[in-house]
Amino acid sequence: MATLEHSVPRTAGGLLEWFTSVDHKKIGILYLSSALVFFVLSGILALVMRSELAQPGLQLVDRQTYAQLFTMHGTGMMFFFGTPMVIGLANYFVPLHIGAPDVAFPRLNAFAFWLTLAGAVMAFAGFLTATGAAAFGWTAYAPLSGDAYSPGTGADLWIIGVALSGVAGVLAAVNLLATIFGMRAPGMSMLRMSIFNWNIVVTSILIAFSFPALTVALALLWADRNLGSSFFEPAGGGDPVLYQHLFWFFGHPEVYILILPFFGIVTEIIPVFSRKPVFGYKGFVFATLLIGAYSFSVWAHHMFTTGAVDGPFFSATSMLIAVPTGIKFFNWIGTMWGGKIRFQTPMLFCAGFLFMFLMGGITGVFLASPPLDYFVHDTYYVVAHLHYVLFGGSVFAMFAGLYYWIPKMSGRMLSEGLGKLHFVLLLVGMNAAFFPMHQLGIDGMQRRIPDYPASFGYAQENLVSTAGAFLIALAVLVFFINLFVSLRRGPLAGDDPWGGYTLEWATTSPPPHHNFHRLPPIRSARPVFDERRENAQAGPEGGSP
């Protein structure tokens, strides 16, 4: 049995340690903490929006403020919560899953995090300027985002902030790829890696190839605003549709960047809580690769109504991507089939994920049909769809992952009772908030409006939706109470509280600086399970404690 030798490096200690550390676990926790802060901030922006929409008329905010709210809500959730959350979880668990002591480039890792945070702070600092934050939607379509229609420092801060976090994302992705391809422990072949790791491989490739398109779009937009160029101005020979192509060439892979890692998390948790190995491991890996490849061919389904894209082609590719997603769904069902299911909090959130994501997936097929998209595009139907995918899907799976992995990170268990309360509140709140939006969209309510006519019957659905949003807030509050209490007083987790399969459960909670004092032999995708079984067969005398 291999023993990893290492020397413990000198660290700053105390609070300073958090600012100077290049340890992937500390940087991972920094990513997660910063992501959760922006989750809460962007969520508060959404609560203000929902409060404004609870009744027809303008009560709380003016139109300019409302535009800033939805712009920064989307921006915060996509760029400063979603992507950093993914990178944070990968940072912490990729080295643990492959039996490595750290990532390939620890200093680059720290640099990428601080760059992300700088970008996030910069974009949100727009709120402190005289003209407020950016107010052109998180998509920043030209020419609305140009200097003629969006003057003000907030817009430039938004461009630079988002661009910085994009560059940081590419650095983190390259680092993760180098780690996974170059630092796997002996015996950890590619096809013995955890599904989570596989999904991070594909996600990192998507980040590395899609974020540069965003960087280019933002650089050109910045030049149009500040240097007098005309990349997106038809008067100077430019084309506003070009901006949309660049943006969505990034934007649609971004959706998969925000969902594939969470597919990975769900695929780690479901087998452990069903006491079975994952059903169709290779099929799963193959489906993930297919989704990654397809995701670069569907971008223009966001642009059907521009009249400037090939509807049938992008419709076909967008529908096709539902097939590998379907494969995954039946992999999950097959994994639970005939299992011994334990409905502890991580598994409950996975169950919620399956229902909500199924719903979001199906409503997405409607949007892949150009004639239907001509009608529901830019309405609340789209808002409903994307929240079922990214909130019902990604956020539910994120909470599953946090309940599953926080004991590893902190050494203490979260409360099951509060966890279940959190789950129920979130499930009810999420459906109350987002289900009525399907109806609103079909009834003709467009997105990004602070006010709607009283005579259209929109008020009832909007009121339910607002109530749901506050339930979500309450659920998230319960989570933070749970986190706060458990980190201080939660029962000790031990090395392996769930009877896990993958290598993070073979070390202490939290792991030592270089992660492993010893590694179990790696002969399958479930080395910890294998070792536990061998020990059980060897009997109480032969097994190690």
Binding site: A67, G280, F330, M336, S369, L372, R447
Partner: protein, 332 residues
Amino acid sequence: MTRGRLVRASLLVAASAAGACAPSGAPSVLDPRGVGARRIEGLWWLMFWISVVVFAVVVAFLAVAYVRGHRKQTRLSEARWGGPFVVVSGIVAPSLILAGVFVVSLNDMMALSTPPQEPGLTIDIIGHDWWWEARYQGSGAVTANEIHIPTGESVRLRLTTDDVIHSFWVPQLQAKTDLIPGQVNSMWLQADEAGRYRGQCAEFCGLQHANMIFYVIADEPGKFESWLANEASEAAEPAASGAARGESVFLQSSCAGCHAVRGTEADSDLGPDLTHLARRETIASGVLDNTRSELARWIIDPQSAKPGAIMPPTELSSADLDALLDYLEGLK
């Protein structure tokens, strides 16, 4: 409750929740009043019922997996590729369903791209921050925010924009199409019966995006022709002395700098053409009713009604304002 009744009840709940009972008054896609929107209604319900079945089947699989998931002993190894279960339910079934849906939607897409009859009338629609200009080709008629069309005939729209991207959408009549700088898009409209159909800008275009409202007013062909003939004509000479004084207020104040009244010296196209303003039901792109008091408010203090609108406030003595209102109300 028997299983059959349970299924029926839950389907009903799902159907009503997803739009089977549209609330009265809403310009719902599922309350179509034109050839284009009716096609979409058909496609919507087809996909809706397919979705309900797919959702129910997958949820049933999940439910069975959960309910039966309490084995004492579980298998140590599993199919590495997933086996026939995944191939059939995860690949074959979805592929067949999606291929069917794709063919049907492509058919509807083609149908939406060609009008049922060759359009006799073409209207240029020009998007502005935040109002709609409509120019009727061949007749010289120009109006704003209230687009009249004849019933039962296909009308072609030529869509351009003066500033940012807008999107032209009348949910009960036709698919939405974007208005994009540097590009000419085209679409067609056809309404079955006479009526007033609400439209709105669907692409976020800035501060007053929510108030970029318009109406498509479908009239019987005869009524439409007389409307068009009137709209194409120049403004009549003001009859009363008050209105005549109002005309000179109009021409000498800032009004004429942006608005046209055909037949007078005012010919700017920065703001809506006012030649037949009095015939419109609304002003300020659907924000205010076209009454004397609302018109007065709009002239004196437009920023309180529609903050950010390009129209500046106008300072007028109350006598001048009265005369101006007399004049504008006479522009029939």
